[in-house]
């Protein structure tokens, strides 16, 4: 049953698959760990209290969680006990380096779903996304032109071959500190045929996509 999400003014909506996870948890039918925080977050229902523990990677993550819990509790006789802490994952500096990943999909639907998952993940702070569609970019010259805009030289042949073979290619660039999350999402959580990870480069030195689809949230 779709979950209606009452909105606080100017507050972004919580993605449907995350709310479904919370609803499933309350109904005793949870599917594994939280879709965003994974095994870092533990949640269980103790009588009428939803007890949430674990450590979150950032203050922004904590705010997102609080928003989710607020929505979960709406219209239910439910107490929330949020015992999570913020424990940043490392001492790495953001904004220093960025990294581009290229995910290759057989089906356009899978590529589009992957893009949606990337855009809706609150842990991916600022993502530049581009889908290379073989119908628009299938000719050699067009594919070459596009990959020159988006892809480092040593990977262009891989991308051109994929597009020429009728595959859908998602090119995503993130801060290097977020590349682990992006790689895991594209490589393991979506139906990609292959994910190519380009080496990190200085932030801002990568080519900008012609159509910038930024998932920037912060």
């Amino acid at each position: 049953m779709p979950h209606r999400q009452p909105r606080i003014a100017n507050e972004p909506a919580v993605p449907e698959h995350i709310m479904s996870w919370w609803v499933g948890l309350l109904e005793g039918d949870s599917e594994g760990s939280h879709p965003v925080f994974g095994s870092r977050l533990q949640a269980k229902l103790e009588e009428q209290t939803l007890v949430v523990t674990g450590d979150l990677p950032s203050e922004a993550g904590r705010r997102d969680l609080e928003r989710e819990l607020r929505l979960v509790a709406e219209g239910r006789q439910l107490q929330i006990q949020n015992d999570t802490t913020v424990a940043p994952e490392g001492e790495e500096e953001q904004g220093l380096l960025e990294q581009t990943l290229v995910a290759i999909y057989d089906e356009e639907l899978h590529a589009k779903l992957a893009v949606e998952q990337v855009k809706s993940n609150p842990l991916l702070r600022s993502v530049r996304l581009q889908i290379l569609d073989p119908q628009r970019f299938g000719g050699p010259a067009a594919a070459d032109g596009v990959s020159r805009q988006h892809v480092a030289p040593t990977y262009r042949r891989d991308v051109q071959e994929a597009v020429a073979a009728g595959k859908f290619v998602v090119v995503a660039t993130v801060d290097e500190t977020d590349a682990f999350i992006l790689r895991e999402l594209l490589d393991e959580d979506t139906r990609s045929r292959q994910v190519l990870v380009m080496p990190p480069i200085i932030a801002g030195s990568a080519p900008r996509p012609a159509v910038a689809t930024s998932g920037a949230r912060r």
């Binding site: 760990s33 095994s39 480069i201 200085i202």
Partner: protein, 448 residues
């Protein structure tokens, strides 16, 4: 960054020179230098890193390692000490390369090999590693059961399934990394080898001279010992585990300095412990012409320190090391197979989210149990599992070198020239040892 290694097949044969960015201006500094200009770790930062590194290095000496060093010391005295000194920088460099694959590519070693060298090469590398891992796992399990049988007086086979069930539970359902921090203290028992070595009154002049000046005896036993010692030191499952560890801990390129320090501290401590095991067994066992045929024989090296309690101390160390190492062996197997097939993987994932990963892990443990309950002599099983590691290690090291020397894969984070040299020296040492071993066995047969 210049490289002297031949590029992998995946690199384009011609075209513009590889650069780290499609439109980088010629004056833009490489990303590596930008990262290097970040504040260097202070003394407290070093302690934070080195402390855990030393503890982890101690854990690298699994039951197979302890037994192999003991067998080598008992049969050759101090004559193989020089291999330990030689292998230390090789091991450090190799583990640092494995870590850097994870730091840069954000993906595990098997996946990187598959993407850049093709499925066939990856399948061969993974298959060889899986065979070595499972034989080591089974031998470790057998030894854990054997030492427990030794101190309890019960048949060792009764302990195999309970130990396996415990480790399966810890790895699959519990938080292995939290558990390992506790178990590491059991492994601190191996520090007693240092005391035992001193109390055994070795000929220090002979022991230290043998550490810096090679002494080679052209016998099958010597070469088997050399390959076993190298295989237990430069051990393939640790390459996969190291890379996966960087990914689980989400350590990117900005952590490379700290990771390198952590690895260096750990590997130095691991080999310092191994050195004192060689000295203790050389003094206590070799000097009295005692070979190691059972767990009780291996425990004798601790008698200068622990007297009649040597067996108990040895058992505690072996059990602790086994409880640490066997989950790593099983998980390393699961990581490499899952990476080969592109399955969801990782210990932080629950079983429902990564069913194939945990299935492989479970199968590895089951096959290990089958191995452990067989009639194989545990000492020989442990020793020869490390010889097998020594045979396959050069193949994995070559693949690591090619990956980490490729600008396509590593960008600005390719190997320094010194790393390339040391890496190829490691390959040469391993290959020469392997060839010498096979030749010696072919001409003289297996030692009795």
């Amino acid at each position: 960054m210049s490289t002297s290694a031949p590029p992998p097949a995946a690199d384009p044969p011609s075209g513009p020179p590889a650069s780290s960015a499609a439109t980088a201006a010629p004056t833009e500094e490489p990303a590596r230098e930008l990262v290097a200009r970040r504040p260097r770790p202070g003394f407290r930062d070093i302690l934070k890193v080195v402390g855990p590194g030393i503890i982890t290095g101690g854990a690298d000496n699994d039951p197979a390692g302890i037994t192999t060093y003991s067998v080598v010391g008992a049969q050759s005295g101090y004559s193989q000490n020089w291999l330990l000194l030689l292998s230390t920088p090789l091991l450090i460099v190799i583990q640092q390369m494995a870590a850097r694959v994870g730091n840069v590519t954000k993906t595990d070693l098997a996946t990187s090999i598959r993407i850049h060298f093709g499925v066939k090469v990856a399948a061969i590398a993974v298959l060889a590693t899986v065979i070595a891992n499972i034989s080591t796992l089974g031998a470790d399990l057998e030894m854990m059961a054997a030492v427990t049988g030794l101190v309890t007086g019960l048949k060792f086979v009764y302990f195999i399934v309970p130990f396996s069930a415990l480790m399966a539970y810890i790895t699959i359902f519990a938080d292995y990394r939290a558990f390992s921090r506790v178990m590491l203290w059991l492994v601190a028992v191996y520090a007693t080898y240092i005391v035992a070595a001193v109390l055994s009154h070795p000929n220090w002049s002979d022991a230290l001279t043998s550490t810096v000046i090679p002494r080679i005896t052209t016998t099958p036993a010597y070469f088997l010992g050399a390959v076993g010692l190298l295989g237990t030191t430069i051990t393939p499952y640790l390459f996969f585990w190291q890379t996966s560890g960087e990914i689980e801990e989400r350590r990117g390129v900005q952590s490379i300095q700290r990771t390198n320090l952590d690895i260096a501290a750990g590997m130095v401590w691991s080999n310092v412990t191994a050195f004192f095991i060689l000295v203790a067994t050389g003094s206590v066992l070799f000097a009295h012409h005692t070979t190691i045929k059972t767990a009780a024989d291996a425990a004798k090296a601790l008698e200068p320190f622990a007297g009649p309690y040597a067996q108990y101390l040895f058992a505690v160390g072996i059990i602790g090391a086994g409880l640490l190492a066997i989950p790593v062996l099983a998980a390393s197997t699961a990581y490499s197979v899952s990476g080969l097939f592109g399955w969801r993987r990782g210990l932080p994932r629950v079983a429902r989210h990564a069913p194939e990963f945990y299935l492989v892990l479970g199968i590895a443990l089951l096959v290990g149990i089958q191995f452990a309950v067989s009639d194989l002599d545990p000492i020989k099983a442990l020793f020869y599992s490390q010889v097998l590691d020594g045979v396959i290690a050069p193949v994995l090291v070559v693949l690591l070198l090619l990956l980490t020397s490729s600008r396509k894969v590593m960008g600005d984070f390719t190997n320094h020239r010194a790393t390339v040299v040391i890496g190829w020296v490691a390959v040469a040492v391993l290959v020469v040892a392997d060839v010498a071993m096979f030749y010696s066995l072919a001409t003289n047969g297996f030692p009795t």
